[in-house]
């Protein structure tokens, strides 16, 4: 009887000791980290706006996927990228170009906030107009600023009339020759 009482009291105080240790041991570790005692406890994170390991875009890995960039001179406006985009972050509007067999890319907006950087559009782009740039800084105060526009804007009526005149002139020149 007495032995069992003594052993339970002993167990209780042992438990108190272990609970006390569960307080002190993490506290000692935290204390070492707090005052950075030795190399082991130094800060390991990098402050975001001032990257330490990647000072320039060239320091980034070769195949890193930054924001999408569309070279509008190469772009044919085929719309393959729009079809494959899983999040529908590309908006494309086309109209007939000066040469009516070709398309004029009026609107090519990429919502970088929606983009999931899957890279499928880059893979599918036949003329290699669409690429991942090395730019990844997306901190803006307005979400509309995350929409990048690459389009040539809509053709005005005046421009279209000029094109029609120029085409007519070319046809006449060709006939006279």
């Amino acid at each position: 009887m007495i032995e069992s009482v003594i052993s339970s009291v002993y167990d209780y105080f042992k438990e108190i000791f272990f609970r006390f240790r569960s307080f002190t041991e993490p506290s000692i570790t935290a204390f070492c980290y707090m005052f950075s005692f030795g190399e082991k406890y130094k800060e390991v994170t990098e402050q975001y706006p001032n990257p330490i390991s990647a000072k320039t875009a060239d320091d980034l890995p070769a195949r890193s996927r930054g924001f999408l960039f569309n070279d509008i001179d190469k772009c044919t406006g085929c719309g393959a990228c729009v079809d494959v985009c899983p999040v529908k972050c590309i908006r494309l509007e086309t109209e007939p170009a000066w040469d009516e067999s070709k398309t004029w890319v009026s609107v090519f907006d990429i919502n970088q906030a929606k983009c999931i950087f899957c890279g499928i559009c880059v893979e599918i782009c036949h003329p290699n107009a669409l690429i991942h740039s090395k730019n990844y800084e997306g901190a803006v105060d307005n979400m509309n600023k995350m929409i990048n526009s690459f389009g040539r804007s809509f053709v005005t009526e005046g421009q279209r009339r000029k094109w029609a005149l120029a085409r007519k002139q070319m046809e006449e020149d060709w006939l006279t020759q």
Partner: protein, 348 residues
Amino acid sequence: MTPWTSFFPWVNDYFPSWVQSFFGVFIATLLVIVPLLTIFVYLSRKISADIHARIGPAVVGPAGMFQPVADLLKILQRHTVVKEAPLAPLIWFYLRWMIFFSTIAIIPLGFAASIFNSELGILFFFWIVLAAMLATMFVGISHGSAQGWFLGMQIWAQAVAGAFPASVTIVCAALHSGSFQWTMVVDQQGFSPLYWSAFSNPFQFISFLVFLSSGVALVGLSNILDGVFVYNDYGKGMRIILSKLLYCYSIFLWSIMAVILYLGAWNLPPRLISAATYIGGNPAVNITQLGCLFIKCFFLMLVMVFLNNALPRRRSDQITYYCWRILGPLSLLALFGEGVINIGGMLK
């Protein structure tokens, strides 16, 4: 309120005492509590970052000192993401906030110089904290989901488990000072740590440790619930700020209780009192006392933040077990020991 209005004697001629109290609470919140909590938020983030081997706030202002202000402005712009909250939990949310912040009126800020100058017992403070915990439970229960019910009950179980040893230690401290009144508790102590209750005998020291530990168990409670409901469902900026402020204020409240009960409160050395009286009379003494109280309180708050971060991911069942199994008996031991010492003193 009287010692503070001695700065502006004309106030007594024009305004009744309730108006003075009202503006006293407002000014104390704006000039003392909010700046103190802002500095506290910055330091606690730095401490937690250091413990996690991170840099912490380092961008806005020198060494990131203005980060809390920048965050405040940022969070205020946040809109509800998921849905507008139902009415019942919101009522409890604001009620809890009001219960907690009503204590500003009765915090003693120096000798006989609380904003609302009354001799309220130290247990009154404690009951207010418990009432706020009850309101926290109802925030969860009124959410109308199983998760809300479980979280609410869990919080209440943890609150009761932490409140039991805390209440016993308060009785222990009152036994030592012979009264439940703030001023009597403070009068029994002195400026030197040798005259602090916490170091007067081993049982008081145990009592102090138990009180602090139960505080660590209790003050994180509002965060558990807010992490689930306020951030996800009711995520309007103002509510998030209120919730964060409440968390900091609950640490402040517990620290100020610990300082007054165990760490000498606002007691100053006689020479400093006479020097302050010589310089600016009663108001200067009050301000020095307030400074002394807040320095101690601030240090204790940082200790609590350190413990909170050194022991992350505290499980509710472990905390409850720890409170009932370890802190409860220890607090009773401290009470018993203090009683024996008191009886011994009476027999002498």
